[in-house]
Amino acid sequence: MLSYALRTLTRMALTFFVIVTIVFFATRLSGNAVDFVVGEGITSEDRELLIAYYELDKPLFSQYLAFLRAFTDGQFGLSFIERRPVSQIVLERIWPSAQLLLSAVALTLLVSIPLGIAAAIWRKSWVGSAVMMVAFLGYAVPNFVLAIVMVLVFSYWLNWLPVVGNGTPLHFIMPTIAMAGVLIAALTRFTRNAMLDVLGQDFMRTARAKGLPEGRVIVKHGLRNAGITILSVIGLQVAGLAAAGSVVIEAIFAWPGIGDLLVNSALRRDYPVLQFGVLTVALAVIVINAAVDLAYAWADPRLRHTVQA
């Protein structure tokens, strides 16, 4: 188990290092930042000063080394715009993003697992077809379309729900649904397929032959097996959502999370913030993936023992 955890950690560190490198060079492909940020209205002396301050006059490689050094001393620089440490700016955005992500995942699990099971059990009746139809539609509608339609209906026309910010529980409703939409569709389909696989297994017949009521056969024996496969998919989807979904949704609802911050920093070419924000998201994705890997290995006794051995 220990060696497995160690291998996982090494793999995580390597992945992160590759991402750090890519992020650094990618953000510097579009020219000198200072020209865009403070281009007009400053003297050339101030400009020189700024370039020197941000060490933009040094060769790219030594900038890269300086950037890597930041991981040892925690000095990730100042925002071009706000003139305060980027770590501070990014860190205060993490909690709102995490809140939104968690509520979206919770909604997904609550909706799609029962729906998926129902679709598997009644696959030949109208229930199964209806669930799959809705799931298919949900998969086809991009999250920003869903978000905008909801805003139009519930805020603009009906005036039921607030649009901007995260002040009250009511603020959570639309962003959560918009974020969970595609995830619910994907997970419902997946749960259905995983359950279908399990329903035909011999041990389900064994469970019935024991005299268990059908509900317990499905939940206790069926879901416990299907759950392992479902878990692996949730991990991938949630990681993807943390990276991409939050950017669009947070921007639409002006949710004060990392996604919103990334969009704004990109528009304002605030590279230190953008850089640090992207790395934070990358780290979150890596951590979520590793956590799911470990949970997966733990949930499946067949893997658990190979892992321990």
Binding site: D202, T206, G211
Partner: protein, 614 residues
Amino acid sequence: MTRSPLLSVENLSLNFGSFNAVRDLSFDIARGETLALVGESGSGKSATALALLRLIEREGGRIAGGRVVLHGTPALELSALSDRQMQAVRGNRVSMVFQEPMTALNPVMPLGEQVAEVLRLHQGLDAGTARLAARDALERVKIPEPERRLDQFPHELSGGLRQRVMIAMALACRPDLLIADEPTTALDVTTQAEILTLIRQLQDEIGMAVLFITHDMGVVAGIADRVVVLRRGDKVEEGPVADVFARPRAPYTQALMAATPKLGSGAPKPLHRTEPPVLSVDNLAVRFPVRRGLRPGAHLDYHAVAGVSLSIAPGETLGLVGESGCGKSTLARAVLRLVDPAGGRVALNGREITRLGASELRGIRKQAQMVFQDPFASLNPRLPVRDLITEPAQIQSRMSRAERQALAEELLHKVGLEPEAARRFPHQFSGGQRQRLCIARALSVRPALIVADEAVSALDVSVARQITDLMAKLQQDERVAFLFISHDIAVVERVSHRVAVMWSGQIVETGPTEAVLHNPQHPYTRRLLAAVPVPDPARRADRVPPRSALTAPGLLLPVGEAPARATMIEVAKGHFVAAVDPASSLLNGAPPQAPAGAAAQEREPADRRRLHPV
């Protein structure tokens, strides 16, 4: 002996959709009686079993007519109960054991919980009491270390132990009737003998009746009081086991008896071998690395094949027998270079192939082909038969469409199928026909050797007989040699000129078939032969020596070490027996000479299976 009936089946008819699986079936089971329900695939025997527990509705079937009555207090008409009422019967008054112990247990639930579940459900025990009762239930089916098993998972146990857990689960509530659906078909003969003995003992202890469903007449002779023979949904014969075996009345029963391989019914005479061998294997070894932790010193090797030598002459069949996990399939694969050997030599028609590169190997494939066990999995369902069976030849030399068609028709003729079959797809054929297709495919390159790995094990006895007859005929016509691998010794006897007995990665006895099977020298061979069911109820006896008398040598060893090689001694002309190791440790019952860590691993057969990378 007249006993009151426990279960009456009256004019039962079962349908799957519009297909009529069972028609007008009636029989009684008396208290404490063992009734064998015998038939080949498609006979409706499993459908009947599922119908008794009313599980058939879940599998897409339904009871179309007739009644099933469970006598006793209270008497219940099972065929008329609601699902909720049936739940109180299942696992309580009537319980069931299934064929596949590998898949019939929930893989992610601890065994103790799975057994305790029945007790909590039917006897209302609380978690703690149920766990104790589960422990007792495991003890009753003679599972070693029952306490430890409670927290283990199915994959940690061997097939035999898993089937014992299934039985423990089924018998936990002391049912009146146990339905056993081919409970030993997936097991080795020695394990089968142990399970059958166990069921008999528990039956005496609990006084339950057993409905034993099987296709194996040998098993029927060993366990049943009465027999019902089914054929395509109709009962063709019913009677006491001695009468049915002594004077089978229905033509189908007679045919089934005739097709059942009987050990000792004669083997092909050994060939007079003058020509150089088609296949000669010398000291072949295959091992699979088992990684453990980060330190290189902790790595182990699993020696699946530990120094095997054999040879096969043109037109000869060598039967290779041994229990699951003994390395026979790995040996077959290594012979064809489907896995790479770690040491030793394999020569095909005198040419060493162990070190050939991929392109040279392709040419060699013309000389040796393989037929696999599962005819359903070994044919690509998307290819028409013409392309399937001519593919090996096409790889060797490009052919035009017309040439392929001509070759396909010729091959189909050889294996007894019609030329029109070339246009069809695998799903349109039965299991036996598919295995004919696999043989046709192997023949397409006119090989000198065909390796048949359990090629008839998945087939009904009558079909298996046709396939082995076909192989014998092809051997006559084409002088092809066979390496015929099977766990079924009676089938091996019927087709093999010589046999080799494999145990723990080594060959422990080899020689002319008659000599080895009638005069077995090695204790493992003797035990194997003693466990083969005899299709004669008069010779029913418990002839299996206790398992502890045989200790397999350790095959999981630290990197660099190798299992001790057995020295072969010639006891008669061409009849060789392993003499020193591992035979010596086995003869005097001494523990095997393996390093401590490896020996500990070896005691758990399931461990081997798990660590095996295949």
